[in-house]
Subunit: 442 residues, 2 copies
């Protein structure tokens, strides 16, 4: 005879610093996905207890697996090639997904990429894609399977049938100050990726002023947690630690970023975005078993870029998902903001920093992002950086190009933008984003 | 311009070990009483953060005051005498309220006693009173005022208009494992008493195996917290630490305890119950300013007992609140269990302990108490202790008299009762409940 579990007893055990059993964790996750045995206020009490008391690696592994199993899990055994995805912890100006996914698919990897929306100062891949007129990100599981089978690539949002436990818990964490917990972040990220049924996952953990993890110590702790738990849960993983002090590339804002991603797929992108996209895509090939070394994989990926195969995969993806494929050849089909103004240097100097967080927040204030989950966003607005850290500027030189619709929003964003560009008499001791790649675990 | 507060920011501050401002605490309490700005899952996240991070004395004082002010607060300035109440943290067999309240009222103190119901192994004054046929504990505020004015005594439950914040928070704490928190316990107890509008409060903090606080250290910490916060909130307080290892008196169970209380008011009660009731009542007189010293007050209270004035106040109270006053003269008008059996000694020995917690739990299993808030209870059933700690017993001697209705419930209670009476070859080194009074702060 087994004694039925009670939520209050599970909460009490974690409250007192104890270790939850596999059975207790399963019971909690079942409660989060179906409500059985748990109320929202009991879930949030346990989330706070986990936040303050932590979880062992074993507990985190079980939590991850239970969450992944809380809904439908995709299955790809009928595909003739490896299935790999990439995830980033969130950056400013990071449009690498739009570039690396087509490149990896062009090299033979199947990529059922499930992304999220932007929140706060960081952008989201789904919002960027939706700036392409007609592009649909919400698909049923069968349709996603068809997209991936036909073009090796789908760029979609999660379906309601997948990881319901994470949806409940994430919504609660957001409003109960229990977001920044290593085991909870780890389980949230990895459960969604496990539910995709992928074999390999490239994880880009951002570190720096514009990232969720501001310090190297925090970012490394998250990277190690993701690697250890992901590996134990049966994923092939490469975890890369990359700098996020200045924005990635020159464009920040949804349509502006799509335009820059397309330019990069044409071989005309900024160096940092091109470099990071190629490197991450190369790791996807390695994890997919296409080649054994990153150097060899890099060679393949570069060829897919030069040959235009990556761009072709992207074009087919846009068309297959209902988007206007003309944007690929003519960016004027993307939404454009009615007004552009520039922030100019008021004195000579050297650009010591472009603060990614402030530029991200300013872009949000322009309307490109959301402070709350349900806000509508303006795909056209954003910021283009006309200078890069280390560059010498003269008075009157344009530093930032601001694409805006509403003057009031411009006024709200302006002081942040003024603060974001730091001019100095001397060059900065070490340039941010140099090197872009800080560490790799695989 | 003041920035509106957000629940998530208040939770974050406490989560990180910060001190909440008066404004933040008021905002939280307002959320608990009206739902404004707070959801249940945000309230419970903050409760867990308070549980694990604690609260300063200043925060606890503000929490107590805000909770007291969250609903109607009684006001007694039209009465010609002092208004005093007594509260206990919960014991087994503790029927002192039924004795000391009439005695204090007989000596000139006004007692608007608001009690609770029993939960778990401890009893509740309202349940005991309701074993008197017809006795009503639910009254509107105006009616309570009338009862107190006429007879100096009302023994009632809290009205829905009083301390709504405590009702919400207590219900959440009960199911989120956040009950045993010193600041939350302190605020819950004192806010309810402050809302009664009393000038003085005698607090009986129980300590021992049958109490909420098992150790002297825990009980003293609660006693000091109650004294310090209560004093700062404007109450005159006497906090007494009393032993709760063995049950108080001989009877445990609602009607059985009423019978014992009436016997005590006749001067025929067990020594421990008589002694504790007189002592607590004497402190009520001191706090009410009737006399300056406990010794002098004790003299008055003893006289009210001997003269039968206390019993008369109790009789009038029963009649005024709809109860059958015949119970006062003839206890056979109280409900009686259909069956009585005895637990007998199986060998000679000395009673080393009567475990209050086990006897309390056994009585609950007989039907006299409730494991969950909404259970119905059986007023007639219970246990009468036929021996006391230190007493020598011979084989076959009755140790406990068990009043029961349902044989299945008797079987469930029996093993606990067998364990509760500890027989030893030698007398215990120190007898529990000797001395009953462990410490006093005033």
């Amino acid at each position: 005879m087994s004694i039925p579990l009670r939520a209050v007893d599970v909460i009490r055990r974690k409250r007192d610093g104890g270790v939850l059993s596999a059975q207790e964790i399963d019971f909690f996750v079942q409660g989060a996905s179906s409500g059985t045995g748990w109320t929202d206020y009991q879930l949030s009490a346990l989330l706070m207890a986990i936040f303050l008391r932590g979880m062992s690696e074993e507990e985190t592994i079980r939590l991850t697996q239970a969450m992944a199993a809380s809904g439908t899990r995709l299955e790809w055994s009928d595909l003739p090639g490896p299935v790999v995805d990439k995830h980033s912890t969130g950056g400013v100006g990071d449009k690498t997904s739009l570039i690396l996914a087509p490149l990896a698919a062009a090299c033979g990897v199947y990529v059922p990429m499930m992304s999220g929306r932007g929140l706060g100062h960081t952008g989201g891949t789904l919002d960027k894609l939706e700036s392409i007129p007609g592009f649909q990100v919400c698909w049923e599981i069968d349709a996603i399977r068809q997209l991936v089978r036909n073009n090796r690539l789908a760029m979609v949002g999660p379906t309601p049938a997948m990881v319901p436990a994470d949806r409940t818990l994430y919504a609660l964490r957001d409003v109960t100050a229990t977001v920044e917990s290593l085991p909870l972040i780890t389980a949230s990220i990895l459960s969604k990726k496990l539910a995709e049924g992928i074999q390999g996952l490239v994880l880009d953990v951002k570190c720096g002023q514009g990232a969720f993890m501001k310090t190297r110590v925090e970012a490394e702790a998250l990277a190690r947690s993701l690697r250890d738990v992901g590996t134990a849960a049966g994923l092939r993983l490469a975890v890369l630690l990359t700098a996020m002090d200045a924005p990635l590339g020159r464009c920040i804002g949804n349509a502006l970023e799509v335009r820059e991603a397309i330019a990069t797929l044409r071989g005309e992108g900024p160096e940092d975005i091109t470099e990071l996209s190629l490197h991450l895509a190369a790791w996807m090939l390695v994890l997919g078993g296409i080649t054994a070394s990153v150097d060899a994989a890099r060679h393949w990926v570069e060829r897919a870029l030069r040959s235009g195969e990556g761009l072709e995969v992207f074009r087919r993806c846009v068309a297959a998902q209902g988007g206007d494929p003309r944007v690929v050849d003519d960016p004027s089909h993307l939404p454009q903001a009615p007004h552009i103004t520039t922030l100019q240097a008021d004195r000579p100097g050297i650009v010591a920093a472009l603060d990614a967080e402030l530029i991200g927040l300013a872009t949000m204030r322009l309307g490109a992002g959301r402070a709350h989950k349900d806000e509508a966003i303006d795909h056209a607005v954003g910021v283009v950086c006309r200078v890069h850290p280390g560059e010498k500027v003269t008075p009157g030189q344009a530093l930032l190009e601001v694409h805006y619709r509403d003057a009031n929003r411009l006024y709200a964003a302006w002081p942040l933008l003024q603060q974001a560009v730091v001019l100095s008499e001397y060059p900065p001791p070490s340039l941010p984003n140099q090197p872009l790649l800080l560490a790799t675990w695989s």
